[in-house]
Symmetry: C2
Subunit: 258 residues, 2 copies
């Protein structure tokens, strides 16, 4: 079935590429060249932890998730919404991409609530309630490229820290109502690999069935599993396709479809 909706590409970047100026430039130059309507979502790399350490504050983590106390929220907002976001926006503008940096507070684009305390108090961690698709569509419509950082808010004046992968997936799902969305997750490897040691062994295509098989066989394991589970969840909720790949040849890698 041909999808008659117009295409929207949502790129999520994070990790080391944000810390390597040359690699970041190369990646953003490719992104700027994409002709389709597009959105960029970025994490903050390791810079928030570095700044916390420089300030003599030990970063608090629980099972790979950050515990955001007041000091960590301030640092995360400074790094993600400040330095990283404006660096990316300024580079995109230099490549003639009309970028606009956004936190979830700006135009109330992403409204969240402070995660409820169960066993662990994650502090000022925000779980998303609502995407303001209308505002985002209006921006895309006039040729603006939104650049989201990993900061949201609760519409009551409280900023919150929200995982950038979650923001990208939630945006993709919300905007899938109006666009044929391709979600591109950019990470260190060239894609999902048959052999974790060999960057040449990229699996070109995965669907739910082949994913389950490779998982059972132990070919796909560890950190790739939550990433792929989330990607398949996004597909199940209307996203057209998900591409998992590297920064050098943006948009290539492993393509996931239903």
């Amino acid at each position: 079935m041909t999808n008659l909706k117009s295409k929207l590409r949502i790129l999520k970047i994070g990790g080391k590429v944000l810390e390597q100026p040359k690699a970041l430039q190369h990646l953003l130059m490719q992104f700027a060249d994409w002709k389709e309507e597009k959105i960029l979502v970025h994490g903050g790399g390791n810079k928030a932890n570095e700044l916390l350490t420089q300030l003599g504050i030990a970063p608090k983590m629980h099972e790979g998730r950050r515990i955001t106390d007041e000091a960590a929220l301030e640092v995360a907002t400074m790094v993600y919404a400040g330095w990283t976001n404006k660096t990316v926006v300024s580079l995109l503008q230099s490549f003639n991409c009309n970028a606009l940096g956004l936190s979830g507070a700006d135009l109330n684009t992403i409204q969240a609530h402070k995660r409820q305390v169960k066993d662990i108090d994650y502090g000022f961690a925000g779980d998303i309630d609502q995407i303001n698709t209308q505002s985002i569509q209006a921006l895309l419509h006039i040729g603006v490229t939104p650049v989201f950082c990993a900061i949201t808010h609760d519409k009551k004046g409280q900023l919150l820290n929200t995982n950038a992968d979650t923001i990208a997936a939630t945006l993709a799902i919300a905007l899938a109502q109006v666009y044929a969305v391709e979600l591109i997750l950019c990470f260190e490897k060239h894609g999902v690999l048959l052999n974790a040691e060999d960057n040449g062994s990229v699996i070109p295509h995965l669907n739910m069935e082949s994913y389950q098989q490779l998982k059972t066989q132990g070919v796909i394991f560890a950190g790739m599993i939550p990433k792929l589970d989330n990607a398949f969840k996004a597909l199940a909720k209307g996203v057209d396709s998900v591409v998992i790949g590297g920064a050098e040849r943006l948009g290539e890698g492993t393509r996931l479809t239903n």
Copy 2:
């Protein structure tokens, strides 16, 4: 002569009010209530210097102007575009004002160039070349309230630090082509005072003539002179009126006209 252009209010805030959560809330609540189209411009208060000091970097100044080396630019961008900007935006959203935080890089709203080195190298200090009035008008037109921080860029990928007073005045002058602009400069006193020690001695109205008189008499002196000189320059370049006053009763104070 009646001005037939529609009204635009541009508020500049800075200094201590940014560091006092209660006072900031009270000020932003008043701002959110303004019915006219409006723009907010904020400095960063003392927070950038504090963070530099915490990081063991001595803030560099020359005659009251910051010298922005690479570390200072990073800190300024983190504080102004990150923490301060998003705190203000999130509070305004909580008061149902549809705020959008902007640096000059976002939508290429304010393009600048790195200040030329003459006697002093100010580092990454940006002198404004161009205001993208079209983009700003488009935002105002759809009910968005732009919130500018003191960061600009050169459209070649370089972020720059630009004085917030200068940004407010330059925006006011550029937008005076299409709007009847009222520029409101908010500072620690209730207005321009007849007696610097008495906050009750606000001069209600100044024009160029009465300003010159009071300057000659030594009633207006020191730090007020560059502030007022800049305000009268803005009036000479088409801004309708300038109000200099305090944060408690926003929009009241000394009104300057031609």
